[in-house]
Homo-oligomer: 148 residues x 2
DNA sequence: ATAATTAGGTAGGCTACCTAATTATATGGA
DNA sequence: TCCATATAATTAGGTAGCCTACCTAATTAT
């Protein structure tokens, strides 16, 4: 039996390779899907629509990266940019009807996919996994900061 | 409290973002480090050195991708290509002394890093995590195959 | 007024992959 | 023995998803 740290390294590496599979639908790329979900989530039940900066924070990518994805989604007619009236530097990102429809479908499919995973793992294990992933995330985030 | 599937999705997404941080040292890229480790591991205690095809399988990337990384490592003097005598189509990849030294250091640092993680989590949780990551991996692999 | 900051955008580059086509070699069967 | 096919690796070119460096416009603080 290999040592624990090596087995952990291997399991993590293997798991992280998954990020490049799946998550494409309706001809949208993974990054676009994540953006649409963040926009819908950010706008839910709020009177003010989400901004580029908020999206950058939510998705943990830089604002130029947000801009690029929004450009694609705007050209495809899924979102619109609306100038804020109070602060004219701010762009608020709004889903079009078409964008809203597709994002609703995306949420449904994601819900389905991850519900299946929860069924597969069981509720207890799913909760442990969330907890463990958070712990590892904070461990590596701390480590990354320490090395700056 | 949000629903379990959504929390799981979020935890997984967040965790997978980690793959783009860390893992660079000695001016080597993540892909190059992974390649060096695979070469050293593949050559350990074997009379025949590892091939491009073996590396492709081990790292789960295509053989053209292996070739590219090997080119960089060869130009930097970390590895050498050696023609197989029995089958001259085959290239065997060998670490140079310089390559071996650096890979030994890489293994040490990885060992240290993941030992720290194991210490942080504790042995029991580390084992659970490995098990859970494997389960999720097999779940999504199955799903990806099903959709082909 | 002016300095500093904030929000967002543009241009260009990088990593880590990929697919398709090509070259070189090996091998099983007519 | 020759050929068709298979296999190993490489070459050529592309893509997704980020990044940095820098810019303008607008706001806030002095």
């Amino acid at each position: 039996m290999e040592e624990l740290p090596h087995r952990l390294l291997h399991a993590i590496r293997q798991f992280q390779k998954l990020s490049h599979t799946g998550h494409t639908m309706h001809g949208l790329k993974r990054s676009e899907i994540m953006m649409l979900m963040a926009i819908k989530k950010g706008n839910q039940g709020k009177e003010k629509h989400i901004t580029v900066t908020d999206l950058s924070t939510a998705l943990k990518i830089t604002s130029p990266s947000v801009t690029q994805v929004i450009n694609v989604l705007e050209n495809s007619g899924y979102v619109e940019r609306v100038n804020d009236q109070q602060d004219r530097r701010i762009m608020r990102i709004v889903l079009t009807d078409k964008g809203n429809d597709i994002t609703t479908q995306i949420f449904q499919r994601m819900e389905e996919k991850y519900s299946n995973l929860v069924d597969f793992l069981g509720e207890e294990k799913s909760n442990s996994l969330i907890e463990l992933l958070d712990e590892v995330y904070s461990f590596f985030s701390k480590e990354a900061n320490r090395k700056e």
